[in-house]
């Protein structure tokens, strides 16, 4: 009996951890793997219109998770890096969707009017800004950080997911000389290739999801 007890407790502890982990897993959306079909979604944009991924079939789509208060997002907007990439992409008929998954009342949450104003003041050039206050789209894609970038090929397969570049820093100076994975992926898709880097660690602030 004594001997049994010594093993029962550790076994119990292990199973509790495993159980907790299992429950945790069941609650969290499975992140999308590069190469897999991009999950379909619908969301309302800053103009109040419902947009869906399906309507952009046949075009390359970039998803950009954003939170305008996050220092890492600021790095890319205050240096003009994000806007430049947006213009470069949309000029080549790429659809650019900026998605805000902050829950109402949390950092980065915006109303439709605020989203429109932000696009103007930041001189941004997305195709649309999608509001995802429930976090449904973010969880569907397993988006973790702002920014967290996804590139979807015209056949709606996900070809890249991760950080915008290889410089995990909020320091504005790090934009210079960074390896921009999104630009690389867009170039590869245009050339009909798979990008050399299909996934990189996303970096930045955690997304302020609804509880």
């Amino acid at each position: 009996m004594m001997i049994n007890r010594r093993f029962v407790l550790p076994a119990l502890a292990v199973s509790v951890v495993a159980l907790a982990g299992g429950l945790f897993l069941s609650q969290r959306a499975d992140a999308v793997q590069a190469g897999a079909p991009a999950p379909a979604f619908q969301a309302v944009d800053a103009a109040g219109q419902t947009r869906s991924l399906a309507e952009f079939a046949g075009k390359t789509v970039v998803l950009e998770w954003s939170n305008d208060q996050c220092p890492y997002v600021k790095k890319h907007y205050e240096t003009g890096n994000m806007q430049a990439l947006q213009r470069e992409a949309t000029a080549q008929d790429v659809v650019w969707l900026t998605i805000v998954s902050s829950a109402p009342g949390k950092q980065g949450a915006v109303t439709e009017a605020e989203a429109q104003r932000l696009t103007t003041t930041r001189n941004a050039a997305p195709t649309a800004v999608l509001l995802d206050p429930t976090g449904a789209v973010g969880r569907l894609y397993g988006a973790r950080t702002t920014p967290h970038m996804y590139v979807i090929a015209p056949d709606q397969a996900l070809v890249y997911q991760g950080g915008i570049d290889d410089r995990n820093s909020a320091d504005h100076a790090t934009v210079q000389g960074a390896r921009n994975y999104v630009r690389e992926a867009l170039t590869a898709v245009r050339a009909g290739r798979q990008p050399a880097v299909a996934a990189a660690p996303p970096y930045g602030c955690s997304i302020k999801y609804a509880g």
Binding site: P10, V14, A20, Q27, R144, T145, G211
Partner: protein, 724 residues
């Protein structure tokens, strides 16, 4: 020396004192300080700096691998020619869960050692100016990048010299680093799932294999240095087998099979002398180039033993307590016990007898014997406790009240004392021997017995002050544990023994007389009250059958006492009746009702570790009340705080699940949970804020405000959104 000379020497003294310390820099959320372990350095020496960061409560900075978001702390050095700086060495991180996002963080005060190597050509008499620009990200829910520049000037001398504070901090920082098991290696397979096993060589003695083989390890977590190896949010499936901790988990989305790096840390709780201790083990050096502190390099190369406190702090808050602190706390706790409701009636009787003894001139003698009685009983209890623990039983302080037989015997004893006090029977002697009976008049034996009874009766009132000391004692070698228990006894017996030695007091004591008879009879009622309380405790342990059994014994005892004053025939009948009753009720009296866990009221649930894990996984805040029917402090807390309408409302408003762990009867799972928080007895109150793996331990004396504060603060800090 003129005034000018004096001023110059003062200035020089400051100049000498200043260099080893850069002023702490306060940014919005962090206080940062750079301290040198050396007041002066010699050419060619490698010395240690410590970066100390004190992070605002509820905020965190990041480990080498920050996890899903966040960023590690970075340093950029500006050093004199020839000087070299090594990497920032991190203690083990904690896991922070924010919805679907998992990060590896540091909280509270963090000490990072950093090595600096001076060139052999450094000139004695010069000053080395070390400057570092540090950037870090600090987050609670939102993130703030912060930065600071730290300058440190260290004089170069022919002979180096320690800076007392810096050297102490450096030793502390190095001791807090994970223990290196790098030479033992680990195995890694990345075929589909990521599978790691620690250590690879299980034939060399090491703490992980020892703990796995002894079944004394739990809560293992793997932290790779690489951010692109594992999916940080995926569950880690831990298997303990073949002397290894094997971890299986999902790969990172950015996993790259051409660039696989499995080195990292394994953290776990390991049971050591009964207490669960948090440990961190390193497999593979952390990334970063440059020199290491000499001590660290030696330990990592296996050329020096790990620092003595490498075993880490116990997982429990009682960790930092030393023997002297525990003894001091036990002494104070012992004194306080004297005025606890459990003990007071017993001691009152003794005090009454003091008046008598003072008259007879035997007060001092009785004081000493009482002292001996207390000490003998405390040490006997401690001895039994230590022996039981050594035998592997899940017991803690208060164990003597977990046996229904013990409760029943105590209840009968209190009932008998009550009967005696009220005058239902005498143990020889008449009215003039007031205050006598069991505790007084029987002389030496009585004094000894009072001491013993007082100790037994005191158990359920174990004062909060003593919980820490006893919890600590239970995890120590027998000699230290006995010392703590002895201190408790000394504190407990001291006030009364001191009284018996105070002649001035003796003169003030009222003369024995008829008043004492009345006082004695009045004291019978607290005794009956104590008996009623013990009946209730027994009812919780054994259910209604046990209660009926005990009350039957009360009747039989009453008859026996009455019969004792009649003729011989009656006496024999009384004795037979008592023995027969005892024989009949023995079984129900000693059968612990497995279902007996106290009443679980509406809105309460029965505690289990699995239930806590379930609720935590669902993001529900959890309050756990570790209690026992025989624990007076627990009952007091329930009355003055836990059952208050405002508290119930706050629990309801915040959706807090109320779990009750009832330790009235023995329960090894509960004993284990108590031990994991450094406790050896009840009460213990835990509050798990949503998303927090570790609970807040609330004080042992609760108030409405403490509870509202704990729930309110965490509900506010956590803001619900941390839930998945």
């Amino acid at each position: 020396m003129g005034l000018r000379g004096f001023l110059v020497s003062i200035a020089a003294a400051f100049a000498l004192a200043a260099p080893a310390l850069a002023q702490p820099v306060r940014t919005q959320n962090v206080e940062t300080e750079l301290v040198s372990a050396r007041a002066a350095i010699a050419p060619g020496e490698t010395f240690t700096l410590v970066m100390r960061q004190k992070i605002r409560a509820d905020w965190h900075t990041y480990w080498v691998n920050s996890g899903d978001s966040g960023e590690q702390t970075r340093l950029e050095w500006t050093l004199p020619a020839g000087f070299e700086a090594g990497p920032l060495l991190h203690p083990a991180p904690q896991v922070e869960v924010l919805g679907p996002i998992v990060t590896y963080v540091h909280e509270g005060e963090v000490l990072y050692p950093i090595a600096i190597r001076a060139p052999a050509g450094a000139k004695p008499g010069t000053t080395a100016k070390l400057s570092v620009y540090v950037t870090w990200l600090v987050c609670d829910e939102i993130c703030v990048p912060e930065e600071g520049t730290f300058d440190l000037s260290v004089p170069v001398r022919a002979e180096g010299a320690d800076d007392p504070r810096g050297a102490k901090l450096a030793a502390e920082a190095i001791a807090a680093l994970p223990q290196s098991l790098t030479p033992l290696g680990f195995t890694l397979s990345t075929d589909g799932q990521i599978r790691v096993a620690f250590p690879q060589k299980t034939d060399e003695a090491n703490p992980i294999t020892d703990a796995v083989n002894a079944g004394r390890i739990r809560k293992a977590v793997y932290f790779p240095y690489s951010q692109s190896l594992i999916d940080h949010a995926a569950p880690q499936k831990v298997t303990l087998a073949n002397g290894q901790v094997q971890v299986e988990t999902a790969p990172s989305l950015s996993f790259n099979k051409d660039n696989v790096e499995g080195a990292g840390l394994l953290t776990a709780e390991i049971q050591d002398n009964g207490a669960w201790t948090s440990r961190a083990f390193m497999f593979g050096n952390p990334p970063g180039e440059g020199p290491l502190p000499t001590m660290v390099a030696a330990i990592w190369a296996g050329e020096a033993p790990p620092p003595s406190n490498q075993s880490g702090a116990p997982a429990a808050p009682a960790g930092g307590m030393g023997l002297l602190t525990a003894i001091a706390l036990a002494l104070i706790g012992g004194v306080i016990l004297n005025v606890m409701p459990c003990v007071f009636p017993v001691l009152s009787i003794k005090a009454l007898s003091l008046a008598d003894a003072a008259q007879a001139g035997t007060a001092k003698r009785h004081g000493v014997i009482f002292f001996a009685g207390v000490m003998a009983t405390f040490l006997a209890l401690a001895g039994v406790l230590i022996a039981l623990k050594a035998a592997g039983a899940a017991v803690g302080w208060g164990f003597q009240l977990q046996e229904p037989v013990m409760i029943a015997a105590l209840a009968l004893l209190f009932f008998a004392i009550g009967l005696n006090l009220i005058g239902a029977f005498e143990i020889g002697g008449g009215v003039q021997n007031v205050g006598a009976s069991l505790a007084g008049r029987a002389g030496d034996a009585g004094a000894f017995f009072t001491g013993a009874l007082a100790v037994i009766a005191a158990t359920p009132c174990t004062a909060p002050l003593m919980a820490g000391a006893l919890g600590w004692a239970a995890t120590q070698p027998p000699a230290a544990a006995l010392a703590v228990f002895a201190a408790l006894g000394v504190g407990f017996a001291a006030p009364f023994t001191a009284l018996s030695f105070a002649p001035a007091l003796h003169k003030r004591l009222p003369k024995p007389g008829p008043w004492m008879e009345r006082a004695r009879q009045v004291l019978a009622f607290p005794m009956f009250g104590a008996a009623v309380w013990l009946v209730w405790v027994l009812a919780v342990q054994t259910g209604s059958m046990g209660t009926v059994a005990l009350l039957s014994l009360f009747v039989a005892l009453g008859f026996f006492v009455w019969a004792g004053r009649q003729g011989t025939g009656w006496r024999i009948a009384g004795a037979i009746f008592l023995i027969a009753t005892a024989a009949i009720v023995w079984r129900p009296l000693t059968t612990v009702d497995a279902g007996a866990r106290g009443e679980v009221a509406a809105g309460e649930e029965v505690w289990s570790p699995a239930r806590v894990a379930d609720l935590q996984a669902a993001g529900t805040p959890v309050f756990v009340n570790f209690t026992a029917a025989w624990c007076v402090t627990c009952k007091a807390n329930e009355a003055v705080a836990l059952s208050r309408p405002a508290v119930k409302q706050a629990f309801a408003d915040n959706g807090v699940a109320y779990l009750k762990a009832d330790w009235t009867a023995r329960d090894s799972v509960i004993a284990d949970a108590l031990a994991s928080h450094g406790r050896n007895g009840v009460p213990l109150y835990l509050y798990y804020a949503p998303g927090e793996a570790t609970p807040v331990v609330l004080p042992q004396l609760l108030s409405e405000d403490i509870l509202l504060d704990a729930i309110g603060r965490h509900a506010g800090a956590v803001r619900g959104d941390l839930r998945p």
